[in-house]
């Protein structure tokens, strides 16, 4: 018998059911770790640490989850916030300005070579963190723009802009 997210959340809140919470973690560990892996530019160790912190935070704050929204949106929001907190200390956000210029800086000859060696994962690294998060959440995890704006705690228009700009950069990098 398969329980819905709402069933599992109710069990956790009412009975402090570790098995139910374990089922929620098993259900979402792959997308959350995958999302954080992309946000950390492929650093699996950091991504797993952040994912673990995110799930612990979910456990602590589950009582404040509003059931009218999707659990996955709320979860991705917490994961995104964990990543943001982690880079705040390391000032990785400063990379945004540099990364923003990478595709434009390539020469036509280099672009041809890049086409051969850049796969999607590499191309994603040329995006700003905000563009990367928007692309991963909206295009790869199926969140709507509204849900992504909730998860990223930024205006809807910013998410749409980041998706469009991110796709444009990816098109240039991948030449598709």
């Amino acid at each position: 018998m398969s329980f819905t997210d709402a069933d599992l959340i109710a069990r956790v809140l009412l009975r402090e059911d570790h098995n139910a919470f374990g089922e929620l973690v098993r259900r979402y560990q792959s997308p959350v770790r995958g999302f954080l892996m992309k946000m950390t530019n492929g650093d699996a160790h950091s991504a797993d640490d952040l994912a673990q912190e995110a799930f612990v935070k979910v456990w602590k704050k589950l009582g404040s989850f509003r059931s009218e929204g999707k659990f996955s949106t709320w979860l991705f929001g917490i994961a995104h916030n964990e990543w943001r907190m982690s880079v705040r200390g390391r000032k990785e956000v400063a990379i945004e300005e540099v990364a923003d210029q990478l595709p434009e800086a390539e020469q036509p000859d280099d672009a041809a070579a890049s086409r051969l060696r850049l796969d999607l994962a590499e191309a994603m690294k040329t995006l700003t963190p905000a563009e990367r998060a928007a692309i991963v959440l909206c295009c790869q995890n199926g969140l709507s723009h509204e849900e992504a704006s909730q998860a990223m705690e930024c205006p809807l228009g910013t998410v749409k802009t980041n998706v469009l700009r991110g796709k444009e950069k990816l098109r240039r990098c991948l030449a598709v």
Binding site: F21, V25, Q29, K60, S64, L120, C139, S144, V163, V176
Partner: protein, 115 residues
């Protein structure tokens, strides 16, 4: 018709198709177990917390009421007795200080209960 919502896949767009390819499933490999073993104890019985905090506040309030007249009297005579200051004078303030600290702690705990 023009696509109004940019997060909808565009027809025949190879980038959209590439992005929407499902990511390979990341095997659990003990991740869930690590999460479950690192979970803190949830504050389930908030009424216990309420009773403990209320008791602490009550004790603090009683101590303040009990010690306040003595403290006021001591403060009023302090300038005259300053030359004859003794550590015992300071020790007399300890219960008052403890009461004030307990009140402060209760206020802090109550305001941060949601956290």
């Amino acid at each position: 018709m023009k696509n109004e919502s940019p997060n909808q896949p565009e027809n025949n767009d190879p980038l959209d198709a590439l992005l929407r390819e499902p990511d390979p499933y990341i095997p659990d490999n003990g991740f869930t177990t690590r999460v479950l073993t690192s979970l803190p104890v949830r504050q389930k019985h908030s009424w216990r917390r309420f009773v403990v905090l209320s008791a602490a506040m009550l004790i603090g309030a009683v101590l303040v009421v009990w010690q306040l007249p003595a403290a006021i009297a001591m403060f009023s005579t302090l300038p005259r007795q300053w030359s004859a200051f003794q550590w015992q004078t300071l020790i007399a303030f300890v219960p008052l200080l403890a009461a004030l600290v307990s009140l402060g702690w209760v206020a802090f705990a109550v305001t941060n209960e949601e956290e």
